[in-house]
């Protein structure tokens, strides 16, 4: 199923007793996408990943990964995964951990050496590859985890909060690695609560809250243009309503807020207000960041 999407889910749900961790996830992620799965802590992101990798069974719904049912062995060979909270065997060296995962992933033994050295080089651990994991810092374990997820050039790489525990240089490196994967055509499923990270590397984003996807699309679609706030007086209510042709209108009394407006049309908007008899006191254009959108979707005060 080469043409099948990387991930397809339909009403995928997980409940632990009375707690709903994921309430019906339906989404399709095409091959080659760098997909950001964004949400606050406890939104159900990690649960979604565990379901997709067959680590925990869904309560209802179904999903396909690389065109195969969840947990399919052939499909799992082509998936790399960096868990959020984990430790490797502290008594193994980094090279031994990588070799173990080469073996578990069913990579041809003749290719192990090259795979291991490549992975260590990509995550900048080549000089520490013979050190025991027990002596590694959290950030180094994270880097190694990323290296493990890249073994065998997988078709899908699932990264659960890959930059947690990393310093700014490490975060930058991880973003570069993710971009590199995107250029190679690898699908990346990036779980994160760090908006800037997602904004910088992802093609498409789903925002999840309380176990539900509340918005999904490309960054452009999600952000949907700019916002402008205008302080205006002497404008009839009916006239204000007419402004909704420029974007989503919010009447806040003295202020009128238009969301999703093309910034090129702001002068036209102001001219329209004046023509309708309104007096313009202030115009505040604002580019909506993913953070604004995120907070608005989650119903938080901005």
């Amino acid at each position: 199923m080469i043409d099948a999407p990387a991930i397809r889910t339909h009403e995928l749900a997980k409940r632990y007793g009375s707690i709903t961790a994921l309430a019906g996830l339906t989404m399709t992620i095409p091959r080659g996408d760098i997909f950001g799965f964004l949400g606050p802590n406890g939104a159900g992101k990690t649960t979604a990943v565990k379901l997709l990798l067959g680590l925990t069974p869904p309560t209802s719904g179904h999903a396909e990964v690389l065109g195969a049912a969840i947990g399919d062995r052939a499909a799992l060979r082509r998936v790399g995964y960096l868990p959020e909270l984990f430790r490797y065997q502290s008594w193994l060296t980094a090279r031994e951990v990588l070799a173990l995962h080469c073996e578990l992933a069913g990579i041809d033994r003749a290719a192990w050496q090259r795979e291991i050295e490549d992975a260590l080089a990509i995550v900048a651990l080549a000089d520490r590859g013979s050190g025991r994991i027990g002596t590694y810092s959290k950030g180094m374990q994270r880097r190694l985890g990323l290296g493990v997820a890249l073994l065998g050039a997988p078709d899908l790489v699932v990264l659960d909060e890959p930059t947690s525990a990393l310093d700014p240089v490490g975060r930058h490196d991880v973003r570069e690695i993710i971009r590199g994967l995107g250029e190679r055509g690898t699908t990346v499923f990036l779980n994160s609560h760090l908006l800037s990270e997602v904004e910088q590397v992802c093609h498409r984003v789903a925002i999840v809250d309380h176990g539900r996807v509340v918005a999904e699309g490309t960054l452009d679609e999600l952000l949907g243009g700019d916002t402008v706030r205008i302080r205006v007086s002497d404008l009839e209510r009916a006239a204000k309503t007419g402004l909704s042709r420029f974007g989503q209108l919010d009447d806040e009394g003295d202020w009128v807020v238009i969301r999703g407006i093309d910034s090129e049309r702001v002068p036209e908007l102001v001219a329209d207000i004046v023509r309708l008899g309104g007096r313009v006191h202030a115009v505040e254009p604002r580019h909506e960041s993913l953070e604004d959108r995120f907070l608005r979707l989650l119903g938080q005060p901005n």
């Binding site: 680590l55 062995r73 868990p83 984990f86 430790r87």
Partner: protein, 286 residues
């Protein structure tokens, strides 16, 4: 076969965590001390001018060997419990299993691999340690137990039983909880064996049934009795028989070898509990 990969990893862990080293060093100390003790047996009674007879020497040596081997089986069972109880639970707690089980490996392969690794650990320790002890006793006292191979089979079987049970606990409970539970149950089974033997002595059906049930539910003591039997010289068994049923209540005496059917039951027991562990872990939410 990924189960063998997991088994190798388990063995490697116990080696790297120096379990083998500690066991080796302490066992050498114990063997050296006990061998010195055994070497004093032939000179017993010389002070009174009454050197002990050949039969007495065999009786004393076999009794002491049984006590030493009880300690050995105790160490073996405890080591098996302590190695098996955290074998899975610790990896679940640390998230190691998340990274590993997202690979194309089944839970069956993972659990069976753990079991094989732990069983290999028992074999690697038990066979040389017990063999060296028996050989040295033969060297210094001239006493060799009548069924050394059976003895190895029974003590290893006993360790395999408690190891498999601890691994089952490890699929659900923290290492500490599983370890404590394993040890308490092991102790209960030992007491159950004594209760059953007392029932036989006093011809009390209820007590006998308790003993039989405990031997079936957790066969560690049943196998230990087999180990005792394989160390006893025929003269000792004959003397005990002559003394009547009272000897049966002694936890360090066994008049008969366990029946072949019982040994078969132990094998089935181990396989059943292992299957239960696989089933339990397959349903475990990670």
């Amino acid at each position: 076969m990924l189960a063998l990969t997991i088994a190798r990893l388990q063995l490697q862990e116990l080696v790297r965590r120096r379990l083998f080293l500690v066991l080796l060093l302490l066992t050498i100390v114990v063997i050296a001390l006990t061998t010195w003790g055994f070497s004093r047996i032939p000179s017993l009674g010389e002070g009174q001018g009454r050197p002990i007879s050949e039969v007495q020497r065999a009786a004393v040596a076999s009794q002491l060997l049984i006590l030493v081997m009880f300690m050995f089986s105790f160490v073996l069972a405890f080591s098996a419990v302590f190695a098996a109880s955290p074998a899975i639970s610790a990896e679940v707690e640390s998230g190691t299993t998340l990274a590993m089980l997202a690979r194309p490996i089944t839970r069956l392969e993972y659990v069976v691999g753990k079991w094989l690794g732990l069983l290999a650990t028992v074999l690697i320790y038990a066979i040389p340690a017990a063999s060296v002890q028996m050989l040295l006793v033969q060297l210094v006292v001239g006493y060799s137990p009548p069924h050394p191979l059976e003895f190895l089979g029974f003590v290893i079987g006993e360790a395999a039983v408690i190891l498999t049970l601890s691994l089952l606990f490890s699929t659900r409970f923290a290492g500490m909880v599983g370890g404590v539970s394993g040890l308490i149950l092991w102790g209960l089974a030992w007491m159950g064996g004594i209760v059953g033997a007392i029932g036989l002595v006093f011809d009390n059906a209820t007590l006998t049934h308790v003993g039989t049930a405990s031997k079936l539910i957790l066969p560690t003591d049943g196998l230990w009795r087999g180990a005792v039997w394989s160390l006893e010289p025929a003269s000792l068994i004959a003397a005990a028989r002559a003394a009547g049923a009272a000897a049966a209540a002694n936890p360090f005496f066994a008049a008969d070898a366990p029946a072949a059917l019982y040994v078969l039951w132990c094998v089935i027991w181990i396989l059943f509990v292992l299957a239960l562990a696989v089933w339990s872990f397959t349903r475990k939410e990670l």
